[in-house]
Symmetry: C2
Subunit: 343 residues, 2 copies
């Protein structure tokens, strides 16, 4: 063991000792984390945070293993904050507190970690959440790939209404809040390198600003889920199975940028199965669906919102898609994935 | 991409597709997780959980990267539950809910995962916490070492009293709840193989049953922290620095099993720097210290509880140890660690 009372010389690479729980860990936390994420709860530096709560709270967790760490439109830090924030928002909760747990591969450049933490700090500020507790582990080279992040989140649930699958009835409309498939294709394009000529930015964004005011304006929303891993098709399958009802969508109504359409054709990838990180699927009562789309369009993140389908009694548990050629196909749930480590 | 509406044939190894968010992920979660961890909140299988809370809550997070996954007295699953439970208990909170996020290396045997989840379920039941939300990611071979677990936890804070460093004053006594250094040496012995002839079991245990009733019986406890990574010496340094006071301990008062004493001498490792996973350091008012030790000894986890030192005005921020040879040495904080991935 190595001991020292005095600060140790700063290194440019993460050492195994940064995970020892001792002096190096303390200095890493102080220099690379606390300065960026400072708030009164975190400053106490306990292993846990105490939070005053008087209401119903939503609680979520997500690990992020995206490779590469940086991609057009985002990075693992932004993704970790917005992903957890969005899970809370989907439950109708105002995100308030998150935790930040790092698993770092020995040898990671400290500057890379600092860049990620900058992004965590910026994203947390934008989403109005505070990082109140955290953890840092370091594993030896090749025992992890650079950096994994877990964020767990707490939010205050709005009102007494529960947004559960049980609320869904036949006739309800399915709304998507914007263009699909941008996150997955952005990460894929970054992996394949610039030679592919794809210039797609991830849609990675906090949905709190789009969705929370909407929930305060209308009671028409019955259920929400963000179509991340597995894409829109997989999330619709979860909804259909969970509600015990069918879902029909029309592919011509799917909002899709020209770039994503071109890239999907080039790569032979169905955009319905590609991850989104700044979109929500909303199940909304039929009468209010147009109004909800109108409200969504007022926000920068909702400009391309559209009704893409409806809930039916036909084929419970299945998702049917009317294709651009006016034929029908069953949209099954994804089994495996050509795009692992997309988030 | 691979699609299927029907259940896919069960595999004995984790595939990358188990992390796709699609059918394989769903079946893994259903078969390997839900059956073991079932409760009404988790059964809804949303990305988050909604919890009714009317009080102050404690919130904590910890990732576990211990290698090997199984060791005498515990495994990564038990460690993940008890580690997070203990962080909540140290704040004077009754642990109630935890999240479970898995990062799995492709190729891990499903039977190994199931064994770990069995242990999570058993430990959660023992600690009276419910696993209410989770996440599963799979990374390709060599991008992680077998299995990492993050658990975040929520607990209800007892009473209005805050157990903070600010409560600590000169004259307070330092209590350890039992024998030290067992977790770290157990994992180390397992790594070195049976040839070493060490038969040390990890002390890995939930402290809720020992500590929560104690907090209800006495107001003498001013601060608590569990001496995990970095051991008793590092945790005492955190307390001394945080409180701006000195701490003096007497090595002859440290409870230590004969096996741990022998192993420490054999390996040349100072037990004061070795991780514990079922012990707490308590800072207690002088007048009540003997009474608190008496109460601790009534519980199986507290039989070896002892007063090991006191808070002083001398040398603020430093920890001084009176050795077995009646000399003094400064116990610095650990800088690096010969035992990485101990938790």
């Amino acid at each position: 063991m190595t001991f020292s009372k005095r600060p140790v010389k700063r290194t440019t690479e993460i050492l195994l000792g940064h995970g020892s729980g001792g002096r190096l860990t303390h200095e890493l936390i102080r220099d690379a984390l606390l300065k960026k994420l400072d708030n009164p709860v975190l400053r106490e530096l306990g292993d846990s945070a105490v939070i005053d709560y008087k209401e119903r709270i939503a609680f979520t967790t997500d690990s992020f293993v995206v490779s590469p760490l940086f991609f057009p439109g985002g990075d693992i830090g932004k993704l970790a904050v917005t992903g957890t924030v969005n899970d809370l928002v989907m439950l109708g909760a105002v995100p308030e507190y998150i935790s930040l747990a790092l698993i770092i591969e020995e040898g990671l450049r400290v500057s890379v970690l600092e860049k990620v933490i900058d992004s965590v700090a910026r994203s947390a500020k934008e989403a109005r959440v505070r990082v109140v507790t955290g953890d840092t582990k370091v594993v030896e080279k090749l025992a992890a790939d650079k950096l994994f992040i877990n964020t767990s989140g707490l939010g205050r649930v709005l009102g007494r209404r529960r947004l559960t699958l049980k609320n869904i009835s036949p006739g309800d409309k399915i709304i998507i809040t914007g263009n699909i498939a941008e996150h997955g294709l952005s990460v894929l394009a970054k992996r394949k390198g610039p030679g592919l000529g794809l210039n797609i930015r991830s849609d990675c964004a906090s949905l709190a600003g789009l969705i929370i005011p909407l929930l305060e304006k209308t009671r028409a929303i019955k259920f929400m889920r963000d179509p991340t891993r597995g894409g829109v098709a997989t999330t619709l399958n979860e909804i259909a199975e969970g509600a015990g009802l069918g879902i029909e969508i029309e592919e011509k109504k799917l909002p899709l940028s020209d770039k994503v359409r071109a890239a999907s054709e080039l790569l032979g990838i169905d955009p319905l199965y590609v991850a989104n990180e700044g979109k929500a699927l909303l199940v909304v009562s039929r009468q209010e669906a147009e109004k909800v789309v109108g409200l969504l369009k007022l926000h920068p993140l909702g400009r391309r919102a559209a009704i893409i389908g409806a809930v039916t009694r036909r084929e419970p548990g299945r998702v049917i898609s009317r294709t651009l050629f006016n034929t029908e196909r069953v949209l099954d749930m994804l089994v495996s994935d050509p795009l692992p480590r997309i988030c």
